[in-house]
């Protein structure tokens, strides 16, 4: 069985660099199946998670109770920016998640 970052080094580094996500609006670019999203979304006030790869998007796994405050979208950053629905959105944290 594959285990990804079992020592949670990524989560620790995120906490050291960004502190708490409590009450924040967060944009995650390249969210994949939500692996990193699950680490911080519980605390955040609102999360927009973008994943343009259809295969990874289909594999997203987030608790259904989070659907009220986590928006997982099958979009690239470019498509998100072009969409008038999201015009004017601002975020306290933007996560470029292995996507640059």
């Amino acid at each position: 069985m594959i285990r990804v970052d079992p020592r949670a080094n990524e989560t620790r580094a995120l906490r050291q660099s960004a502190g708490s996500f409590e009450g924040l609006r967060v944009l995650e670019i390249g969210a994949g199946d939500g692996r990193l999203t699950r680490r911080f979304a519980r605390q955040a006030a609102h999360v927009v998670a973008l994943e343009p790869d259809a295969r990874r998007y289909q594999r997203r796994k987030l608790p259904s109770s989070w659907e009220t405050h986590v928006q997982f979208l099958p979009l690239s950053l470019e498509d998100y920016l072009k969409n008038p629905l999201f015009a004017g959105e601002r975020f306290d944290r933007v996560l470029l998640s292995w996507s640059l």
């Binding site: 285990r3 990524e10 660099s17 670019i29 950053l77 601002r90 306290d92 944290r93």
Partner: protein
């Protein structure tokens, strides 16, 4: 660089950009059991980790052009643990299409296991950087 400029406009006052990407240090494959590890081989990539150097350049350019300043850089090890080399290979085919498991890895693993009779798991270890970037202006 274009993405970094776009993100700048998305940040609220006091906001922070967190860029997570691998360094261009090759990922290492190890046979591990508990704290003990034996190096097997370096993972190869079709573009020899060039995309990560380009990511570094994009961040450097965004800072030099005044869009961000570096608040903090954090380096950490990110590991994938697999029960076997075939399992790791399958995982890489799905998740890391540019990755190449070199033939040397298979030979080396067989040598270690034959000579030392070591059971263990396969670990792939990457050096990752997390850049916390504060927007200017």
């Amino acid at each position: 660089m274009h993405a970094l400029k776009s993100i700048h406009r998305l940040l609220a006052p006091g906001g922070l950009l967190l860029d997570i990407h691998p360094t261009d240090e090759p990922a290492g494959i190890y046979l591990g059991r508990g704290r003990s590890e034996h190096f097997i081989a370096w993972l190869e990539e079709t573009d020899e980790y060039e995309e990560y150097r380009q990511a570094d350049q994009a961040v450097a350019q965004a800072m030099s052009e005044g869009f961000y300043r570096l608040e903090r850089r954090n380096l950490f090890w990110f590991t994938i643990h697999a029960a076997s080399l075939p399992e790791l290979e399958l995982y890489l085919q799905q998740e890391w299409k540019d990755a190449i498991l070199p033939p040397l890895a298979w030979r080396r693993l067989a040598q270690i296991q034959d000579s030392r009779q070591i059971p263990g798991e396969i670990r792939l270890r990457e050096r990752i950087q997390l850049n916390a970037l504060l927007p200017h202006g």
